[in-house]
Amino acid sequence: MNINRKLDKEHRPKTTLRNYKCFGWEKMKVIQTTKLTKAFDGFIALKDFDLTVEEGTIYGLIGPNGAGKTTAIRTMLGLLLPTSGTATILDTPVKDIKRVIHRIGYMPQDLSLAMELTIFENILFFGRLQGMAKRDIDARAEELLKLVELEKFGDRLIEACSGGMRRRASLACALVHDPPLLFLDEPTVGVDPDLRSAFWQYFRNLTEKNDKTIVLTTHYLTESEQCDIIGLLRDGMLAREGAPKDLKMEVPDGRGLKIRAPSVADAIIREVQDELGLQSQADGDFAVIRFTGDFDVTRILEIVQRHATTYGMELIEPTMDEVFSHFTSSKGTAKLAANQNVPDEPEVMI
């Protein structure tokens, strides 16, 4: 935690015991929701949603379509009134969110740009709504257009832009006032992989070096690995939450060793199954041994060394798809897979 973090003067936290902590030992809780519930005409979109997001993290809300990701974001932004429960954003109850809204950037899922305006004019417009002077916006727009690789297209009308360009322009608009807290609803949809990884690098940079906090949704599961914490949403409920690497440890037989030991692979497997009771199988020259979490690998290696003096070894980690399927229970797995395995092929950009 960076003690020298620049605190917005106006919103310097009151010096209560709890807030003293945020300077020293504990990271400040930027978002805290308790039993947040949102029902639409009897349909429960979000149920008992408890979320805590600490400063300087990227929090990814992951879930299939209709899981409540967008509802969660909109409720936390005060755009929807919660049916019950509370949410505190930047130390402010969500009903008073207007007090701190200038410190929040929001990129909605749908287009939300003025179609008849150019990319630059849209940035200018949102900058002005934030009360920024034209001169400052100009400078900032140049930076942002470079970031989203649209520096040559500032004068293009939104209606003439491709889907991916619109998403990028929308991201630029959300970032214009350099807010400490960002809500990004599907920021990387329709953005090609190179630029997507550039975005992630930028996000990391924002959170690690500048203490910004980002809450985002994504349905690219591979990408969710880059979040500090992910929350797995299903049917409006937070099924599980944690750091991707921790969650991976919990997938049963999710991790494994792939050992190249020609001719002795079968023998190794037999002994591993007998002695350690681990699920394992031969795959040609390879023995694939599965285990859960931080199983003591040396016990496997002892067995291996009995049979082979030289061998190759590779550690297997569960994919995020496996993590996701595991934590969002079995009955919906097929449906989830259908929704989640969006091909990572880039959308062709013009």
């Binding site: 755009l79 929001y106 909605p108 939300s112 008849e116 709504l129």
Partner: protein, 371 residues
């Protein structure tokens, strides 16, 4: 967040830039008033020509008759009228009571009073004895005389005339009032279209919600929308008045600027109403349905086509709930009688009050979808 005009202007600028690029809407802004004026203008009798009238000039009986003669030749040159005779020999003292009636085929008798020239600029009013059975013809006669008087005086406030109905119902005189109604109607239809459709489109695109997630206040967005569109209203109102003057030569007895201002207030009124109503439309189709809903009562019940006095009481209530009713009264008094604000201050207050009410309502229900 404090209210800030900076954001209001940002919203306004955004709307104007968007509108500027919307060629079809610009076309509509320009051609809609022209089309409306043509349709209404021709349908409602501005093309009445060669109405037979008799002019009686009593002015010549006492000294100089320079002005009345000038007026006479002006009327003779007006192709709305056809002069059958210049009755200069009728005895002085002719008045409404003694007037024997119109000759067959003659629609009106126009009388220049005694000492019209001498007492200028404060003469007795020009008297018109008209056959009121055809309101459109009466309008043509009154229009011709009004134009003549404005031409003579060069100053609208001097103009005085009296109209006496020899036949027909004196109360039934929608005619004089046609042009204010047309002006109001044209402004109304376009402003409703603009505010309802654009606002719903903005909400559907997610812009409304996105703006809500910024320090912007509802009233700032509503005011910004209003200001942006009201500039369009200024443009359109000017165009309308220009057409009224140049193409149809409809007399405006009072101040043109006053008419313009009143129409502008009416435009803001309609815009606010449109912004308010648009909150209740889920999509553009629904938004469009509001337009006839507002337009039809405004045309039929505002006194534009039928006089309100003839309505049963329950309809009168509806009439007096319509902003259109008030703008018609306000414009009529000024365009036809040259009476400014002092004669219609109550109506003006009602109109202004309604405008503020709609504006506040629009701000309250803005982004009503929030649940």
């Amino acid at each position: 967040m404090e209210f800030s005009w900076y954001r209001v202007l940002a919203v306004m600028k955004k709307n104007l830039t968007a509108l500027k690029r919307d060629r079809r809407t610009i076309g509509l802004i320009i051609f809609l008033p022209i089309m409306m004026m043509l349709v209404f203008g021709y349908a409602f009798g501005t093309d009445i020509r060669n109405v037979k009238v008799v002019i009686c000039n009593l002015d010549a009986n006492a000294g100089s008759a320079v002005l009345s003669n000038k007026g006479y030749s002006f009327l003779a040159g007006d192709d709305r009228l056809e002069l059958t005779d210049n009755v200069t020999t009728v005895a002085a003292g002719l008045d409404e009571v003694h007037f024997p009636g119109l000759l067959p085929g003659v629609w009106a008798l126009i009388v220049f009073p005694v000492n019209f020239t001498e007492k200028w600029p404060h003469p007795a009013p020009v008297e018109m004895y008209v056959d009121g059975s055809n309101p459109q013809i009466v309008a043509a006669v009154v229009g011709a005389v009004t134009t003549m008087l404005v031409d003579l005086s060069g100053n609208a406030s001097v103009v005085l005339y009296n109209v006496t109905y020899k036949y027909g119902n004196k109360d039934y005189r929608p005619v004089d009032s046609m042009s204010p109604g047309i002006l109001g109607f044209t402004v109304m239809i376009f402003m409703l279209l603009l505010s309802i459709v654009f606002n719903v489109r903005e909400r559907l695109s997610g812009m409304t919600e996105r703006m809500t997630a910024t320090p912007t206040r509802k009233i700032e967005v509503v005011l910004g929308n209003l200001l942006g569109y009201s500039l369009i209203a200024v443009l359109q109102t000017s165009l309308l008045l220009l057409i009224v003057k140049l193409i149809f030569n409809i007399a405006i007895v009072g101040e043109v600027l006053y008419v313009f201002l009143m129409l502008f207030i009416f435009a803001i009124n309609t815009l606010s109403l449109g912004l308010f109503l648009s909150a209740f439309a889920k999509n553009e189709q629904q938004a469009f349905q509001f337009i006839p809903l507002m337009i039809i009562p405004s045309v039929l019940l505002s006194g534009f086509v039928f006089p309100i006095d003839g309505f049963p009481d329950f309809l009168k209530v509806v009439s007096y709930l319509l902003p259109m009713t008030y703008i018609i009264i306000i414009l009529r008094k000024d365009m036809l009688a040259g009476l400014g604000l002092q004669s219609v201050w109550l109506e003006f207050l009602v109109l202004a009050g309604m405008t503020i009410l709609f504006l506040l309502l629009a701000a309250i229900v803005y982004n009503r979808q929030k649940r």
